[in-house]
């Protein structure tokens, strides 16, 4: 069976005044219909850049490598040149939800107008039909008084309501793939719980593929089927969510889990990962995690390692360098 989305050997570099920065190195992931892939990592790990590459939303100074592929429906997105090709992807087959719902709506245009506009670009609908679909979507994401909200501006809605409206807008074109970039991070926990439950129901109902980006392992545990852990632009561990969170093998994944305050175990000490995430300008060669790895060798042999995932158990992929040191 063909995957819904397949990313192969993706490198992303940015040309900046200070030099060429590697944001993503050799990332390969795939996603099937109806599945949720969680991507976790700290700030600067390349989670958002990965998602933006799929939509081709990275800025003009971005450089992709030649042999990289991002395949959606047998078409390589990276080879698209015309805006018409890209339109099929952006908002058509693929929709995106961002972290800050206030920043994602135009402040001076009514929410309903924004919903209609994007629907009419992607679907052969007249205004009346587009309006009906939009109001129906607002109803389905649990917005009371959908007709009234349709004629309001983003600032008139509360945070949770705005995020619901954002979800309604993203889903109204019936995308095959949804990219959700920290969709619950800006929300309070009680609202986060509402939005997560809503998203779970909707993912099931629409049978979409979802890439769910977050820094919160708890959220990943609750929504994702599979998870990829990213550090400084590389995937260091990947597999079914249950396996990765219960049996983490890479020292970075273990570090993330140990640093997390667990409400069910108040006596466990909080163990930070030593050091700081290096600047992408001086990205370590070899294993990118070696500068913070508790198992890094004295003689520095990790400098010469080439990173790459190997399957250590069925479905559980681990970076080569982490295979040895994860056993310790």
């Amino acid at each position: 069976m063909n995957h819904l989305l397949e990313i192969n050997n993706l490198d992303v570099k940015f040309d900046t005044d200070e030099g060429r920065i590697t944001a993503i190195e050799n990332v390969s992931i795939s996603l099937d219909q109806g599945k949720v892939l969680g991507i976790v990592g700290e700030s600067g790990s390349g989670k958002s850049v990965t998602a933006k590459s799929i939509m081709q939303l990275n800025p003009g100074n971005t450089i992709y490598n030649d042999d990289a592929e991002i395949i959606i429906d047998d078409e390589n997105v990276l080879k698209f040149t015309s805006n018409n090709d890209l339109k099929k992807i952006r908002g058509g087959k693929v929709s995106m939800i961002f972290q800050e719902p206030m920043a994602s709506f135009a402040p001076a245009i009514k929410i309903g107008h924004q919903m209609i506009e994007q629907l009419m670009i992607h679907k052969p609908l007249n205004k009346k039909e587009a309006k009906d679909i939009s109001i129906d979507m607002l109803n389905r994401v649990g917005i009371a008084d959908a007709e009234k909200r349709f004629n309001q501006y983003a600032f008139e809605l509360s945070g949770g309501m705005r995020q619901r409206a954002m979800i309604a807008m993203a889903l109204s074109t019936m995308p095959k793939l949804l990219l959700a970039d920290e969709p619950t991070t800006a929300l309070d926990v009680t609202i986060q719980a509402q939005v997560i439950n809503l998203m779970k129901d909707i993912i099931k109902e629409f049978n979409m593929g979802v890439i769910f980006i977050t820094h919160d392992l708890g959220v990943i545990a609750q929504v994702a089927d599979d998870v990829a852990v990213m550090y400084l632009g590389s995937v260091v561990e990947q597999g079914p969510v249950n396996e990765i969170l219960k049996n983490p093998m890479h020292p970075y994944t273990r570090g993330l889990i140990n640093a997390l305050p667990d409400i069910n175990n108040l006596d466990a000490p909080l163990t930070p990962i030593p050091g700081n995430i290096p600047s992408p300008l001086d990205r370590p060669n070899g294993c990118v995690f070696r500068t913070r790895c508790p198992h890094a060798s004295k003689e520095g042999k990790e400098e010469n390692i080439k990173m790459g995932l190997v399957e250590v158990k069925p479905g559980h992929w681990l970076d080569k360098c982490g295979v040895d040191c994860g056993k310790k």
Binding site: E42, S43, S158, G159, G160, M161, D188, V189, T190, I191, Q192, A193, Q194, I196, N197, H215, D216, L217, G218, V219, A221, Q222, V241, N242, L245, K246, G255, L256, I257, A259, L260, P261, D262, I263, N264, L266, L270, T271, P272, I273, N276, I277
Partner: protein, 330 residues
Amino acid sequence: MSKNIVSVNNLSVSFDYQENFLSKKQKIKAVNNINIKIKKGSFFGLVGESGSGKTTLGRAILGANKISTGNVIFHDDDRDYDLTSINSKEMKEYRKKAQLIFQDPYAALSPRMTVRDIIAEPLEVMKITNSREETDEKVREIASKCRLNLEHLRRYPHAFSGGQRQRISIARALVSNPKFIVADESVAALDVSIQADILNLLKQLQNELNLTYLFISHDLSVVAHVCDIVAVMYLGHIVEMAPSRDLFSNPRHPYTKALLSSIPSIDPENKSKAIELEGEIPSAMNPPSGCVFRTRCPHASQDGKEENIEMGLEEVEPDHWVDRCGVSCG
């Protein structure tokens, strides 16, 4: 039993609000009839969602917000400071003893000052030190306590990561040798691995320097880990207050229960459904009468008798305080 360092008695803070220049002036009650006692050497946690009034309460205790009714008393070793009747000279003294650590380490530090100048500024403003040598000495001392590299003192904040910046903010707050610290969402902007590091640092400094913290956070798991005693706020009221282990193992108020159940578990098999609260926190401009939580409470009665309840904490077990309305429905 150790002594109290801060007593808050029947404290309310309200703000004037006018929608536009024609409309009537309104009062918004951000904090409503709060009574807390913070014990010396404790790590007092304050949790709640956005708009619950936690920051306003913290600022009122520091004298940074005007107090509408009630009072705040800071008990120093030799004397008490009553913030409602304090003069400006005493206020300056009080500022040396009570300090604030901010949330966003990127916004809190001036990009045009070196780290040394940032940390030294309180000493100079408060005229604590008399010579440059003395200032430098103090700066170096607190910087090393906060695990800052002394070479870093000559650099500017842009050269530092979020965790290092937060350590600089902490050093600045502690340089005047305060006894009481309000940490307002001080780890919220940090990545988890760095968050753990800063929390450990705060704990360690507490022991070394005999500090008392008021730790404001929206993150219950963080609060559960570091605080000895926790107060849960909702729409300007404290709805429950207890020693943290007691609160997290035996929550009594329906709001506390809902908050706890909303934390997504890191165990994928534990998909226990959160107690879903209807809607969102109401606006403080127009708070519900009676029990402020009644509009979202899963136990609210049909006849609406909660509308006429007067809120107030009751001690249900030793040191475990729950709002009256929550005692029966919880």
